[in-house]
């Protein structure tokens, strides 16, 4: 049933006109919120994501504290109006799982050992959802953490590769996600190439997996450049304001 829908032409043209390795349009802005310690607004194709970082601050209740390092608590939340059929507000099983895998991915790059007993809260709000929100959220979280001045080994970045109509492609769109053959979200630390997040649903041969995996890593590096530009732009704006 899945393969009935034509998602890519024999010339490699996808439903939205992209080629197999093209990434949807990405726009990143750092420091968009007043109260948060750090924040980021990101648009990625039809996705709109807002991230606020609070911390490091003392973890409460106390029994959640780790005496050796900070804990990282990411909370991925979809707004009720972010999807076609209204979603009930509040966490569901899907968002709990995504919060967990994002928390674990971020923990690897944050220098948590500098802040024993503290917590770093990363609040990811999906305002508009159109395939790839967990990668969009993690990518925005990386920028918001920098904006908050949280010490990190690297800025984490994520993108999904996948397979549609038997062909490996980068950055699945909505129909590709729904009717494709496989989805492979990957997050990396771009400086070291370490894999921070990896999930796979669908059906890939080992060769296809390797191909998709390499494509995702390549995509991560491309998105990483956009992240860095957003961070630099923010600092330049601040510098300009200070000079005025």
């Amino acid at each position: 049933m899945k393969s009935d829908i034509k998602l890519i032409t024999s010339e490699g043209k996808r439903l939205d006109g992209r080629g197999p390795e093209d990434i949807r349009k990405i726009k990143i802005e750092a420091g968009v919120l007043h109260r948060a310690d750090g924040s980021c607004y990101l648009e990625w194709g039809g996705n709109k994501v807002l991230v606020a970082v609070y911390g490091p601050r003392e973890a409460v209740p106390r029994h959640t504290q780790n005496p050796l390092r900070a804990i990282v608590q990411a909370r991925y939340n979809m707004a009720a109006f972010s999807v076609e059929d209204r979603k009930r507000p509040g966490p569901d099983r899907r968002s709990v799982e995504i919060s967990k895998v994002i928390s674990e991915a971020l923990e690897k790059v944050i220098l948590t050992e500098q802040f024993p007993r503290a917590t770093v809260n990363v609040n990811i709000e999906v305002l508009d959802a159109e395939a790839g929100t967990r990668c969009a959220g993690l990518t925005a979280a990386g920028v918001a953490l920098i904006d908050a001045g949280i010490p990190m080994r690297d800025i984490p970045v994520a993108i999904a590769a996948g397979k549609i109509n038997g062909q490996v492609v980068l950055d699945l769109g909505k129909e590709e996600d729904n009717f494709g053959d496989a989805d492979l979200p990957v997050a990396i630390s771009p400086r070291t190439g370490e894999i921070l997040l990896l999930q796979m649903d669908g059906h890939l041969t080992v060769d296809e997996f390797n191909q998709a995996f390499d494509l995702a890593v390549k995509g991560c590096h491309a998105v990483s450049e956009i992240q860095k530009k957003a961070v630099i732009h923010k600092y330049q704006t601040i510098a300009a304001e200070v000079q005025e």
Binding site: L33, H34, R35, A36, G46, K48, L50, V51, A52, Y54, R57, R75, N77, A79, A80, F81, S82, V83, E84, D85, R86, P89, G90, P91, N121, N123, E125, L127, D128, A129, E130
Partner: protein
Amino acid sequence: MTIVPIIKRDYITNLAAQGKRIDGRNFDHYRKIEIETKVVNKAEGSARVKIGNTQVLVGIKMGLGEPFPDTPNMGVLSTAAELVPLASPDFESGPPREDAIELARVVDRGVRESEVVDVQKLVVTPGELVWLVFIDIHVLDYDGNLFDAASLGALAALSTTIVPAKRFEDQLPEGHQKEDFPLPMSEPPISCTAVKINDFVLFDPCFDEEVIADARLTVATDHNGDIRAMQKGLSGSFSKEEIQKVIKGALDNGKEIRKKLKEVTSS
């Protein structure tokens, strides 16, 4: 429950005694208001409202369902507010607390009692099938005066809402309107809020003012200059004169804000 920040309170009240506020405004002035509509694609209507640094996003989703048994000839409005932990270090995830519930209920009454949405035009089959309107308030950045920002956001989002009849055509009966159409709306009331600090009445409180305020009063007024809703909050009291002062300020500010809303939503 935090200790009242006494130093901050002294600073603000000393300024007030000289007729000043921490951000330089007059007592009855609002911060800069920005309204942006159609900010979310998946929603049938949406608006982002900024009042100073306070930022609220409201999305409208619509669906089809049964009317309430006691109002078979009316569509259904439903309002929920999420004080997501994004917006303030003090907001927590979890079930909505009393603050979020009060906010949602005050916005809800403002929309419902003022009959700004013509719910009688949202009936498909009386007693059986009506349009449901879900108003979801997402507080993004909290620097005071959520009531006004959320009310204004709800009105702006509703004003630009398109009823998605085409998407639901399979569920609509034969012969029923199956083209999308704008949500039927009438003139909206505008909600304005002031707080009392000592004997001073300050409109559109920012976070620092709100935190030390004694009492809060929200008044919604319509284009005829009538009152459509009121809500007093916090543990301080008002005198009758102070209430009159808030009503007057609500009428004056309401006029300005209504103009701004119209500009945005009619464009």
